[in-house]
Symmetry: C2
Subunit: 364 residues, 2 copies
């Protein structure tokens, strides 16, 4: 591909960096952002890195009315020696294009997106916190910004990348969370947008989350929208169960998001010769396994939390306490291995990590 040059305009008033001990997920943003524009007939153009600043949109911009928007989420890690690492960023760029297709939005060249992302991170590398568990959250997103109130794909879009230094996603840390199995609300259904990373999927989940919060649960576990009996995923995590020695997770079926952490975990488990299966999982099966004492572990997986052990599942009042409410050995091993690979403390047998030294490494 012909890589478009990125115009760079640096800020002349750098912000104060937040206290790395007190980072709140998604609250503070770095000094710069990447922006590119799309126009029908012209394609993506005007790739630029500019000071982080508010953007201006016509009130009739399509994104406000008909929700054409796609996003991604990944992290950059910095180790003591200054090396910056990205975890499988090319997978995010690939998934971004899958989402863009589903939303009838123009694809963004994956290599160009990676180039933009690494350039921006080079500029902002001092923003990557080094404290254990912290990282720089990367949020690429595309919005339809054409001013037109018609229900049709827009002719104009904006692609942006913003960066936010983050601590742990869950306030509870790596401690197990309590999850409510959702029986009333549905996140996504076969034929819908559940497999894409688009705003509407998250808006629709807020109501269920609100109900869960009120009952003291930190997340909901979504069931399928058709039969309301098969497990799908958690708010922003895929879900895994260890049943009688085997690790199972719902198969990719069009209505759940194909997590990159999920994919990596499946690879790791197979590498470790731990039996694993991707298949349909009914809540009845989970309950039965629990009653027989075979529900050994439950954990969520995602970029934000990496691994989030589940200590309790509440299914319509039936409470399952998993592994005495403690983090299980598989969740623990996965968490340590993944975070060690991400931080460069452990070997990277699958070539997952992209290192950014002072110059671009994998990309150059």
């Amino acid at each position: 591909m012909t890589r478009l040059p990125i115009q760079i305009k640096l800020t002349d008033s750098k912000k104060e960096k937040p206290n790395p001990e007190k980072l709140i997920f998604g609250k503070s943003f770095t000094d710069h952002m990447f922006v590119a524009d799309y126009e029908e007939g012209k394609g993506w153009h005007s790739h630029r890195i500019v000071p982080y600043a508010p953007i201006t949109l016509d009130p009739a911009a399509l994104v406000f009315h008909y929700g054409q928007t796609v996003f991604e989420g990944l992290k950059a890690y910095r180790s003591a020696d200054g090396t910056v690492r990205l975890f499988r960023p090319e997978e995010n760029m690939k998934r971004m294009n899958v989402s863009l297709d589903r939303l009838c939005m123009p694809r963004f060249d994956e290599e160009a997106a990676l180039h933009a992302l690494t350039q921006l991170i080079q500029i902002e590398k001092d923003w990557i916190p080094t404290l254990e568990g912290t990282s720089l959250y990367i949020r690429p997103f595309i919005i339809a910004n054409e001013a037109f109130l018609g229900v049709a794909p827009a002719k104009k879009y904006q692609f942006m990348i913003i960066l936010s230094p983050v601590g742990s996603y869950y306030k509870e840390g790596i401690h197990p969370i309590r999850i409510l199995v959702e029986n009333e609300f549905v996140r996504a259904v076969k034929g819908g947008t559940g497999g894409a990373k688009t705003a509407g999927n998250y808006a629709s989940g807020l109501k269920a989350q609100e109900v869960a919060d009120q009952q003291g649960y930190s997340q909901v576990l979504w069931l399928d929208g058709v039969e309301r009996k098969y497990v799908e995923e958690v708010g922003s995590m895929n879900i895994f169960f260890k049943i009688d020695g085997e690790i199972v997770t719902p198969a990719i079926n069009g209505s759940i998001l194909e997590g990159i952490t999920r994919k990596s975990i499946l690879q790791l488990l197979r590498h470790w010769n731990i039996p694993v299966a991707e298949r349909q999982i009914a809540m009845d099966e989970i309950r039965e396994a629990y009653e027989e004492g075979k529900l050994e572990e439950v954990f969520g997986t995602g970029t934000a939390a990496v691994i989030s052990p589940v200590g309790e599942l509440n299914w319509g009042g039936y409470k399952m306490i998993i592994n005495n409410g403690e983090t299980g050995p598989v969740a623990n091993r996965l968490f340590n291995t993944l975070t060690n690979i991400q931080n460069g403390k452990e070997d990277d047998p699958f070539d997952w990590v992209m290192e950014l030294k002072s110059e671009l490494v994998k990309l150059a």
Copy 2:
């Protein structure tokens, strides 16, 4: 309620009004807009009418990422004597709050919204075209504008009303349209957001619309997401069938939008003593009625199109030509009655119309 004062700042450079013969739906906007802000703890405040202008948002504004947004759509009509009419605007404001509840967004007082809307229209009344079939489309909408990348209801919102002079929604005019019954994609499912007017519902429909377009169909007819056999609605219309003398339309079930045109039509039909039923309608039943020669009329209903007769339904390759591809008598009568009531040419037996003379009438 205590009506908050509306600060008014008029523009000093009025735009040129578009040619009323060449209006394109949702392309041009008037000189002013209404804006109000919400902050947790403070509620809705700073109600104002200001020159129509781009708005400024942080790139991390929640609406871009997690899609918390709600909108409404209604029209103002102006007759030759200068009277401005709104059609059941209080119904839109009521529905807006139903949508806001579903999306975990703060309600906007219905009377205050109506007041804002009528004030804005008073100021912009010269923008309401008078040509047959034209009107001023009114788009109230609310977006989450807090800069925070957390999947949780925002603490800050903006409510806006923008206005657009419009001609007919469908380029084909009142002529029957061709509709493709959608078998692959799903718009909404029980437990989801289908009953709310929120952006994500429309984004998810674009892909199916694209496929329909390519096959020469102007709209898709959505089926239910669970069994894929019951009729739901069309892109931005509810749907009615005349089968063997009876008018039937899908019952409100949580996954379709409760149209105000739909509601009004049901009232009119009952008033005319035409048999009508709101119930579940299977595609098999439609096909059977067609084969027996009993599928007499099909039409869509919505603010944009008012009544849109359907001349052809294609269900997986099985083509049903309805009423020889011509507008049927019930659709015709409904169209004429509704548009005449809206334009003040006919009696308004249900007190649907709100007249805005030089002063506010119903509201004052």
